[in-house]
């Protein structure tokens, strides 16, 4: 399980952030915020090197002692960030990828909702 999931708009403001241990929310916000720099670097590196543009998964962004932060960027430059506990060894690259795929699907569903204004914070029940 991820401990924090964030959807960040193209302009780098959060559309949705949810962390599971709610008592330390600010820390996760900070972690997600910090990882955005790495996302930027990776995106701009992609532009330079002209590597496979279809690869949306950015991989491990920002490892810390306790958490691993993974990134994913959609074609519209909306960023997904998933923070997982480092001690959770069952989550390998493949699992993270599938989590991102599911998140992307849900995000697409939200975007398809005619009542959702693109750019608004996303609500989740």
């Amino acid at each position: 399980m991820a401990v924090c999931i964030a959807v960040i708009a193209k302009e780098n403001y959060p559309l949705y952030i949810r962390s599971v241990p709610t008592e330390n929310e600010l820390k996760f916000h900070y972690t997600v915020h910090t990882s955005l720099d790495v996302v930027e670097e990776k995106i701009s590196a992609v532009g330079k090197a002209l590597v496979d543009q279809r690869e949306l998964y950015l991989g491990l962004l920002y490892p810390t002692e306790d958490y691993k932060v993974y990134g994913y960027v959609t074609n519209s430059k909306v960023k997904f960030v998933i923070v997982v506990d480092s001690s959770n060894t069952s989550l390998r690259d493949n699992e993270i990828r599938s989590m991102f795929r599911k998140l992307h699907n849900s995000f697409t569903d939200v975007m398809c909702n005619p009542f959702y204004n693109p750019g608004d914070p996303i609500q989740s029940k």
Partner: protein, 1018 residues
Amino acid sequence: MEPLQEKPIIYTMENKPIVTCAGDQALFTSLYGSLAQQLPREPMEWRRSYGRASKMIHLEANFVQFKEDLLPKEGNQSLLTFPFLHIYWTDCCDSELYKASVKDDMLRWQSLLRGHGSLDWLIVLVESDGKKKNKTNILPRTSIMDKIRNDFCNKQSDRCVVLSDPLKDSPRAQESWNYDELDALFTQYVLNFGAGDGANWLGSFCAPVCSWNGLGLRSPIDMEKREQIQRGQASLLDLRSYLFSRQCTLLLFLQRPWEVTQRALELLHNCVQELRLLEVSVLQGALDCWVFLSCLEVLQRIEGCCDRAQLEANCTHTVGLWAYASEKDLNRTVDLLAGLGTERPETAFSPLSPYKKLKEALSSVAQCQRLLHQTKDGLLVSLTIHTSYLQTSALLAGDANLPEDKRRHFCQEILTYTNHVPDSQGHKVVLSMSAFAQLRELHFRPAVATVHVGAALQVELQLCSLMPIPVQLEQLSVSVHFSLERGGVGGGINAGGGAKAQHHTGTVQFPMETTYGPSPDPRLPGPALQLQAVLDRSASDHTLNTAGVACKNVHLLLRRRGSSASLDTPSNSISAVTVDDGAQILKTSGVKLLPGNNSIVFTAPSGEPGTYTLRQLCASVGRKVKLAVVTGHYSVKKGDALQLSNTDAMVLLHSSSCPAQILSSTGELVGDSVLSIQSSEKVTSIALPLAPPYHSIEFRLEVLSHIPALPLRPQIQRLTNGEPHHAQLFCYLTFVHRKYIQVCVQNVSEMNFHLAELSLTEREGTMLELQSLNGKTRQLVSSQQCLFCVWELKQSPSRFPPPCLHCLFSFSFSPTLYSVKAEILPSPGAKHCHTGSLCWLEVCITRLAELSEAEREDTGLTENGDDYIAKMLYEVVDDSSNWAVCGRSSGLVSMPVAVGATHRLQMEVMPLFAGNLPFPTIKLFKYLPHFSTPTIQPETDGCLERDSVSLLEEQMEDSASIHSRGSVLSLGGSEPVRGPPLPRREPFSTGQVFYCSRGRQVLVLPGKDDHLLEVNVT
């Protein structure tokens, strides 16, 4: 066979895998030279276990003659002496000869191998052209090959290869290990072990960690650790350290130092996790020590093999390690020294080894702080390590609250450092004055501060030194800004002293600046502590609960200066101060600053007529904004411009250009440039100079800050003008005879402001009395917050309110026609509602008012003699899906229009969750039969009609859009298509229906049968 001792030692392969050669030794010797040469050049595929991708590698081998002694004994697993591959060489192409001798020899060789469990073997059949020509016609050459395959390699035909041109081909080596592979394999074992998969040999790595001396990357092979591993005494950290030191050596050899830093970070994180996973007991703080030492060691190793420019360009790679090291808190000092062990001999003579640093640091708290300071500094700017420490020292030395000897110590520290600093790199540390001394007074001579060209203008500064001992200053400088603009007056020089200038006396006095905490100057103390005893007695028996001292003016004492780093307040900048080169500088050399007040005289230049402004002094009153554009990974290209939006509170002084400095990431000046500035009323555009990545562009802009005299006025005007900045939401609340008006004032600006004397009046003279229910006379509306104000509409009970009140905001007043009351009852026999069991929802609709004239027009009524019958549609909606409504959730009600007429409904609902559940929402609509012509809308098609209905609904009920939309569809029975108009529903206008049970909750207990929760009710 001679091993390859004569070749130069290559780091990559100190220990080449051993390959034994049996068979025709003469043949092999003839091939050996070219084989040993060609083999490392040929890339080969390395198929790896555990599903990892295969890699192409270059491999060398140590070919030795086959002897039985070489074969591994039982239980000997030593990799270094392990022969990995056994090759049998033969050039036999004569089947007679093969049968007679070669086959027997091969059989003997095979049985020896099998006896020792060595399964990796290969038979090489070499065909030389000379021999082939002799025998080629007698037997096809494949026959020998086939024979060998038949005899030895059943089903494994690749165990026998033919070399027809030995100088080009080389035998392929089988799988082998390198450090990456070992590392990955070990990781896998640890993970499996942690998951409960027993691997007993891992037990030895679970022993308590008793040594945390960090990574050792100085020697290519850490022999000490290697021996420990051989003896089985290595801890997990030792093994990891050893493997990493080998990887590091290889990576550095491959000139990939940045991969080392990346892998190091991974390794450190991983080790910490693994120790946790294996539940290895580690002394508290020891792991921090290990991480800290390792970080520094890696960084030093990298610094050792790269030059400065490379390091700077790649600081993104090192920053992670710096950050990680600086996170580590090394406060536990007592037991950690023991585990550091002794320093490694290879670093013993290096004055800066991480080991020495940490050991020193652990010996005293002060040193520890210092080391941390340095480390944190390294994080910011890896080369100006000492600046921050000096700055801190300066602050400490100037702090009057510290004991005298401490202050002397820190002061001395700065002075000794300044003497020691090798200025060879031209790297000068300039510290902000404010920590050392404060400017008290500025005195011009002559007092008018205007002199003729060529005459001397003297500026006398009164400086109060905060240092406890006399300080010899090499140079004291004051930067002066020169402008020609107002210099026309008689060609004189006018040195104005900024905002506080008092020209007639020629003296400018500077009030004490409040710094953090109490003032550092003992003669001018900061605000006195206002202390007050606080006694908390219990209310019942007057016993003392707590007693304490409270400080009443904490906000004054602990106030810190505004942290807007862009404003150039010199005392606020912790980093080294850069001297503004663009301005003229007044200098005095060789000044000795005594503790206390000092008087220093500068002589101002007067070469050119114009106005000189003492710039540094002005800066402290906030007239200049220093802007630093940090480029990050982006390089500033030609044509890039910075756009500033001008705010009302800050006016940019117009100038067409300003000087800028381009600084490298270490704060070194790289280049100067002049920026061109274009400004309009709203936007100022500044063309940026070219700058490489990770540099910063610094420049200063002159601004005037206005503190608006009446900051609230424009805001309020906006408010009344109803500009979109302030959304005003009015809502009208009603309960039978009591009417309320709620006003929501939303502050969408960035400022906080007070709302005072809230009042709501009406101008029409309808004799309505509005009574304010707002408690406070003054209300703070913070930025981005809302304030709700409520007024009650007073009216005499006998009178109805006017049907409509025309004011700035109009409301229609209508009497409450119906009240809807709901009740949820548990099923008969049960005390409480339970999840999954049916409950009764009772709805009672009561008519409250007489038939009004307005209503008579309404099409929703049907006439029945004298009585009117109202047809209404009720709907039970549960947005939060707490309830399942069984049966029909909506239906028609017809009831007579008479006061007190009541209609009761009963339906079954099922709670889906336990807890205090809010009641489902019950809605009442007017029902317009299909035959009646809609009054508002003429004949429309279904789609449009539906839209208009839903629009109305949204106005009335904010949360019901989806549900009610769905029910409109179902009401029609089918998809609305073009055709006869369908029956419609129309919401009551606001206030006409009072929902008594809105917001009520009912307690639902968890169901007895959990599986009932699974029931899917749709």
